[in-house]
Amino acid sequence: MSKAPPSSVHSGLIIEIIHSFYRNEWLSLTTIPFRNESDWHNFFSVLRFHKLIPLAHHVLSRMEAWPFLPGDFTQTLEQASFHGAAFLLLLGNFLDAVTRALEKAGIPFYVIKGPSLALEFYQPSNTRPYTDIDIVIPFDSFTDTSTVLNSEGFVSRKTSFNRSYFDSVHFAHEQFSEISIDLQCESVTSIWSKKSFLNDPEVWNRLRLLKSSESRSFPVLNPLHLIPFLCTHLTFHRPMALIIHLLDLALAVRTHAADLDWNELVCWVQNKQLCKPVYYPLKWISETLDCPVPPAVLKAIRPGAVERHLFPFNAIARRQGNMPEYLERVVKFPLIEGWDNKTRAIGSFYRMIRKTSDHD
C-alpha cells in the first residue's frame, strides 16, 4: 500500500516554485519530493487548480533534476503549457482586435485581470494563464460596446447590465466558442457597498497605458487602485485562492512599491472600507515572498488582534480545491466591513437565492 504525501509537501513545492519565479532564481531540488507517479498526478492537479501549470513548466524545466522527473508528469506539463501558450496567442489576437475597435468607436474602457497582469508582470508573459478578456466600461456604454463586440464576432444573450446587483456580462466568440470577453462596470464589492470602485471617476481619471506590442497599448488600472483591486478580487472571488492571484499581487507590489504613494493607498482603502480584504493578502506576500510592503501600511489597515490571529488566511490560500459555496460565504462574511454592508450582503444573498428558486 502506498502512502500519499501530505498536502504540505505539495504546498511546499508550490511555494518553492513561486519563490524561484519571483526571485528569478534557478530551483534546485536536493531530493525528488514524490516517489509515486500518482503523487505527481495529484501535484499536477494542484498546479492546475492554482493556475500554475505554465509557470511550473517554466521553473521546473530549467532545473537540473528535470530529466529525472517521471516522463508522464513532464510530458503532461509540457503539453499543457504548449496548449496554454497557443490559447493565449488566440486570446491576445482578439484582445488586440477588440481594443482597437473600442478605441475606434470612442468607447471608454480599460482592461483588468489576466491579459494586463500577464503583459506587465510576467516574463515570459505566457507563464500567467488566463481564460478570458475582462474589460471595464461605464454602465451606460453597454449598448454601444455590445454593438462593437458583435461586429468582432462576440455575442451574448444579455442586453444590459443589471443595475441591482454586481454583474459581469459574458460574450462568447461565434467561431471560437472557448474565447470570451467579460464586460463589467463594477467590482464584486458592489454587492454590499454603495461606494463605487472600478467605476469611481478617480479610477477612470488615473488610468495609465500599458504597452502590448511595439505599436499598441491599452488602458489599465493605476497601481494605486490595481493593488486594492487585486486584493479584493483574490479575497472575494474563489476566496483566498488561487496562489497565482497572490503572485500577481506580489509582482504588482514589487514593480510599483518604490513609486507608490502608500499613504494615498491606505486612505483609499480606508475610505472604501476594504482594510481587511487588503490586509490579509498584503501580509501573506510580505511574509511568504519578502515582498516590500511597508510595515506601517499593514499596521494602518490591520484588523483587531483577536480577529487577525483567528482568521485562517494561510490555510485557505494553500488549499488544493474548491470549497463548498456556503463555506465560501462564511469565510467572506467577516471580511465585509461595517454592519450596513454586512446587511446588504445578506440581503443580496437572499435575493440571489430567491431568484434562483424562482428560475427553477
Binding site: F82, A85, L89, P124, Q175, F176
Partner: protein, 104 residues
C-alpha cells in the same frame, strides 16, 4: 525547382511564440496550433523572406551538432509540413527578382 535556392516566409495569419526552447505556432484562421522543437523553432525564426534554404542549412549546421545530410533531410521534411499546413509561403517574387532575366 531546387528547394534549397528558394526563399520562404511566415504566413501573416500565424501567431507564434517561444515556450522555453520550443516554438508554438497558432493558425489564427483555424485555431489549430503546432509545436516545434528547438531546431524546428530555429528554422522557423530564420524564415524571414530573405534567406535561401541553403543559407539557413548552413546556420543550422553551425549552431547544432548535426551532419549536413541529416540536417538537410529533416529541414526539407519540416518545410514540406509547414507548407502543407499553410504556415509558410514560398516567396516567389524574391526568387524571381534574384534569378537571371530570360533571353529575349
Amino acid at each position: 525547382m531546387d528547394h534549397m535556392t528558394r526563399i520562404y516566409r511566415k504566413n501573416e495569419k500565424i501567431a507564434w511564440r517561444i515556450v522555453e526552447d520550443d516554438g508554438v505556432l497558432l493558425n489564427l484562421s483555424t485555431g489549430y496550433y503546432y509545436t516545434l522543437n528547438e531546431v524546428g523553432r530555429f528554422l522557423w525564426e530564420t524564415l524571414d523572406g530573405e534567406k535561401k534554404l541553403s543559407d539557413i542549412l548552413t546556420d543550422i549546421i553551425d549552431c547544432y551538432d548535426v551532419d549536413t545530410e541529416t540536417a538537410k533531410g529533416d529541414m526539407l521534411d519540416l518545410i514540406e509540413d509547414l507548407l502543407q499546413e499553410g504556415l509558410i509561403v514560398a516567396d516567389d517574387s524574391i526568387e524571381k527578382d534574384a534569378s537571371p532575366s530570360p533571353a529575349p
